[in-house]
Subunit: 249 residues, 2 copies
DNA sequence: GAATTAGATTATGTATACATAATCTAATAA
DNA sequence: TTATTAGATTATGTATACATAATCTAATTC
């Protein structure tokens, strides 16, 4: 699954995750993507990969010129991005690429923890078919292997894969889409902390436990484990950032 | 709190809930609300109160003319509404006011259950000050009184108030905003079922129990009670709709 | 009468025009 | 030098123009 969330392969013309779209949908759309859609993807990628200075102002005409289009589609893309929470449209000062403060990150993690663990709960209740569990399991294995190799980018990619598959098993498209959106918002921060934090060795134990509980259909336990897993991860992240003195990202 | 969610007082120039805005913010904004904002509010109100035929197509020029504005601000408002999930912008067939199928309602309730019970959990952990609990308690009392009087609209209004205050106690603006958005989506359906369903006599026991657990700081229990309360309500709603043979709303 | 095709119609995506209000610049006065 | 104000500049919100492609209409052909 190729996604802007997945790090690595810098420089390639990467495609941003079009929220809530399957790959084939995306392909279809891309054949005749409107300028608005292209502007949206392009701007989102630039924001997520830090190619805009956070906290700085950009004016509509600048953005339009930068993308080689007129203001109209640029404006429409900006409206979408501001609704997703990535930017603010300040009345007269233009576009502000939203900085993420510790406080925002806390909120984002609370949302993700809530929705993901609900998805886990739903998944366990459904008792997914074995084949649907395969992806999950291989993602866990990939994480193990990546850790052994010390390949943090691969680990992060597999982690994303695991979480997204997990959410998909919940079978709720709105939850899936929301998790995607908030995941994207935290992307910049996750990429940053990946290199700072201690290696995530123990997190795979939780992953395996969640998978097991889903297979057993133990919804409550699966939810609990995942909830606590996420809570732990969130707290680790926040304390890490605080210890490094980051207040804005 | 005056809100489009609250039924009754038909005909008055009611104001729609501007998502995530406090009342004073709203007032400020309203002084010089842009046509886009006004179009957004106006369309949202019409959608939520069923003044558009669900499932029917409306063309951009129609909408613009209907609102007495040009296509540009109408279009921008439509983009916002489609991102909120109230409408679909079909490639060439115009605007489709999204019908809500049972399946959608199920998803929406899962999202609400998840986020609300997280907010409850967070609230209980924070141990809100007494004065912050007052609103909650009076909302519960209002529901009781409304039930005695048999005033369903008042009951619904107090119920909304209770849930929104509860979510606010969670102190997470993203959760609050999301709950608002999904609440709005289910508004049409809730108004419909209000008159069909058995009187919600027992639901206040849960409400009081949640309040009590928040006061005691028992986060796990508060969450559990609320989660089950919401689950019950959701299942009731769905089975009610099914028994009446509704598949689309 | 049915079907196919050419022309007309028009919704959309995008660009551009324009009025307004906010900001900036510069000049004049104290 | 500092303050104040008038004029210039320009970002935004909105309207309008325009090209394209899709749909509809009607006419012609079988």
């Amino acid at each position: 699954m190729e996604s802007a969330i997945i790090p690595g392969e810098e420089g390639g013309r990467r495609r941003i995750t079009e929220n809530s779209m399957s790959k084939s949908d995306l392909d279809k759309k891309n054949q005749k993507a409107s300028l608005t859609q292209k502007a949206y993807s392009e701007l989102k990628e630039r924001i997520m990969t830090g190619k805009f200075s956070v906290g700085e102002h950009y004016l509509e005409p600048e953005i339009a010129e930068m993308l080689g289009i007129s203001r109209t589609p640029a404006r429409e893309a900006l409206i979408r991005l501001s609704q997703e929470g990535l930017i603010d449209l300040k009345p007269r000062r233009g576009v502000l690429v939203k900085p993420i403060f510790i406080h925002d990150l806390k909120e984002i993690y609370e949302v993700l923890t809530s929705l993901e663990s609900t998805a886990v709960w739903l998944a366990a209740k459904r008792r997914p078919a074995d084949k649907d569990m395969q992806g999950l399991k291989s993602a866990v294995d990939e994480m193990d292997e990546a850790l052994v190799r010390g390949d943090l980018d691969a680990w992060a990619a597999a982690d994303v894969k695991f979480h997204m598959l997990l959410v998909e098993l919940g079978n709720n498209s709105r939850i899936r889409q929301l998790v995607q959106t908030y995941f994207d918002q935290a992307h910049r921060v996750r990429m940053l902390t990946l290199k700072l934090r201690p290696k995530p060795v123990d997190s795979n134990m939780d992953h395996r436990a969640v998978v097991e509980m889903i297979e057993k259909g133990n919804a409550e336990e699966a939810r609990r484990i995942h909830y606590e897993h996420r809570e732990k991860a969130g707290e680790l992240l926040l304390s890490l950032l605080e210890s490094y003195g980051f207040t804005q990202l």
